[in-house]
């Protein structure tokens, strides 16, 4: 077909001509395949650099069946700081390896066409692989859709079926344990915990860590010190009200996430308690809220971006591998305790 006049775009053919080799040889150099002499390789590379050649992704993927696209799947994209963090990390890894990042959303169950529309999107986007974030990483329908599409995937912080695919995670339990001990070591003996939603795996693990820490110190945590919460600030507020109404009032409150910790701060203010003088409050996650709160929250930093980065790395590394899914690998990342202004030793 006679198409446009020369577009000006340089193709592999131009490079081949300039280097005096065949296009296949250029292709080999570009793709770092072997079977090219050192001298030839150097010459081609130089010409590629000076002419500023960049391979055409579409042609490439049509021929090789690789799209150089990685999908990140979220359930709710809006309003969560988490989404941005994940993308930062994922993009870092993508850029390093010459991939691009496509954001895909599974509409939540209540929306029309939820997983259905998602599955279609999966099919025509032709990802080389996808990263599943919570809670999509534990959704049976989503997993089924991804597996049906035959896509390699890595999950971030899954709660179940750890044998099902590679994943990355951090040790919530251990972090919560340390967070609790930090309060203990400041001198707190009446430490309460604000729990997360029942079905939320990381909430359960954090509670577990809290309980373990107290038991480690020879204290059996009292049931009334564990207040039910929903990961929302209002629920943190309510839980704190209940805790402060106890006959033996806690001197420190450990909320399972930062948002509830902010609610706890508000409740403390309402009761005329100054934080951290009269009451210590600590959170978990290290979201921007923790930094914006007043006083700034002492919390646990969850390496969200790094987890996403690791996930994408695992994915890309796995591409060479046949039977990717079979090789169930897991990579653990380190949390860190963040010391700010909302926790201090109790008044003597």
């Amino acid at each position: 077909m006679q198409r446009d006049p020369p577009t000006g775009k340089i193709t592999i053919i131009d490079i081949a001509r300039a280097a005096g080799v065949s296009i296949k040889t250029v292709s080999r150099v570009i793709n770092q395949e072997e079977g090219v002499g050192d001298e030839t390789r150097a010459r081609v590379l130089e010409i590629v650099a000076t002419m500023g050649y960049r391979p055409n992704v579409s042609a490439r993927s049509l021929s090789s069946r690789r799209s150089y696209l990685i999908g990140v799947i979220f359930m709710r994209v809006g309003a969560y700081h988490y989404v941005g963090e994940v993308q930062v990390g994922a993009m870092r890894a993508c850029r390093r390896a010459g991939y691009h990042l496509v954001v895909e959303q599974v509409l939540p169950p209540e929306a029309v066409g939820g997983v259905q529309g998602f599955a279609e999107g999966l099919r025509d986007a032709r990802f080389d692989g996808v990263v599943l974030t919570p809670p999509t990483c534990d959704d049976p329908e989503v997993l089924a859709a991804v597996e049906t599409a035959g896509l390699p995937y890595v999950r971030i912080a899954p709660h179940r079926e750890f044998e099902r695919s590679p994943y990355v995670f951090m040790d919530d339990r251990k972090a919560a344990r340390e967070q609790t001990l930090r309060l203990w070591n400041m001198g707190h003996r009446r430490i309460a915990f604000i729990d997360g939603p029942a079905d939320h795996g990381s909430a359960a693990r954090r509670r577990q860590g809290y309980i373990e820490a107290l038991r480690d110190r020879g204290v059996e945590p009292r049931p009334e010190w564990i207040a039910k919460g929903e990961f929302l600030s209002l629920s943190g507020f309510d839980a704190t009200e209940r805790l402060l109404a106890l006959p033996e009032r806690p001197t420190a409150i450990f909320a399972a996430n930062d948002e509830m910790a902010v609610g706890a701060l508000a409740a403390a203010a309402k009761h005329g308690l100054s934080v951290p003088r009269d009451l210590s409050v600590v959170g978990f996650d290290d979201t921007p809220t923790a930094e914006a709160a007043w006083p700034r929250l002492t919390t646990v930093h969850q390496p969200t971006a790094e987890m996403a980065e690791a996930a994408v790395e695992m994915l890309i590394d796995g591409f060479g591998d046949e039977r990717f899914r079979a090789r169930v690998a897991a990579r653990q990342l380190d949390y860190s305790l963040v010391q700010r202004d909302s926790a201090a030793p109790p008044l003597a």
Copy 2:
């Protein structure tokens, strides 16, 4: 080349065979071109549906030079709620039109390879168009890179050069004016404003609206009632301390964004002032922080997702158009006032 045994994937050829037409006709149906009889079209469509055929994006884009990818460009992806909101809206529009969304980041000036790496990414991602978010939408280097790449683009809330491209925006000035009047109508007469960074266009427009509102009511705003801020909660805290130290203490504080409003809440608490009884505080943006704060912030909802959605729509609609950039269109979206718990009439 002899490649894999039949992959099972259905191609346009299968559809053509099943429908008893040529592949070109199927192509025409898929792309909604004319020149196909109603009956033929219906038959093809049905077969496409029953066989679940989806065109191969790579082949398509190789041949047609359209990638069906839209890029959203951010400067900082992490930590900002804004990013997620933009993506929600952009994704909605993309999905409707069969496009996918690729996230791209211009590394901030301090990072190595900032715009450089971005420009390269632009070139090989082959977007059909991009959406620029603030502050990238006013960065001369970014604009140059996009224009050099010959990409159509739409800007979200630009501050300058409105003639340079299509854009979407909301009327910050008017919204701030209404927000101020809301306080006025509650009975407040000493209304202070916490300003944003000097170079931030929307901050300037919001300040303008505040000033206008007061003048409308015959009050010349006093310079000491406009406190410098940096859009961060700490700066809101500091600004509020200065405002509360004034001989004639304001009864209401309007912060140019929610984060600073949260800082203001903290300062109020420190001074033993109960919000909204002793002091009203209102914000701007309606970020999740506003809902999480205590008391929940009365603020102005910025339709971030909708703006992004509109931007993508404009982009896609413009594709048919030659001379896209020449047709500088602008689309305005409506804000809305959000009534929560942080503002009330002043004590008599």
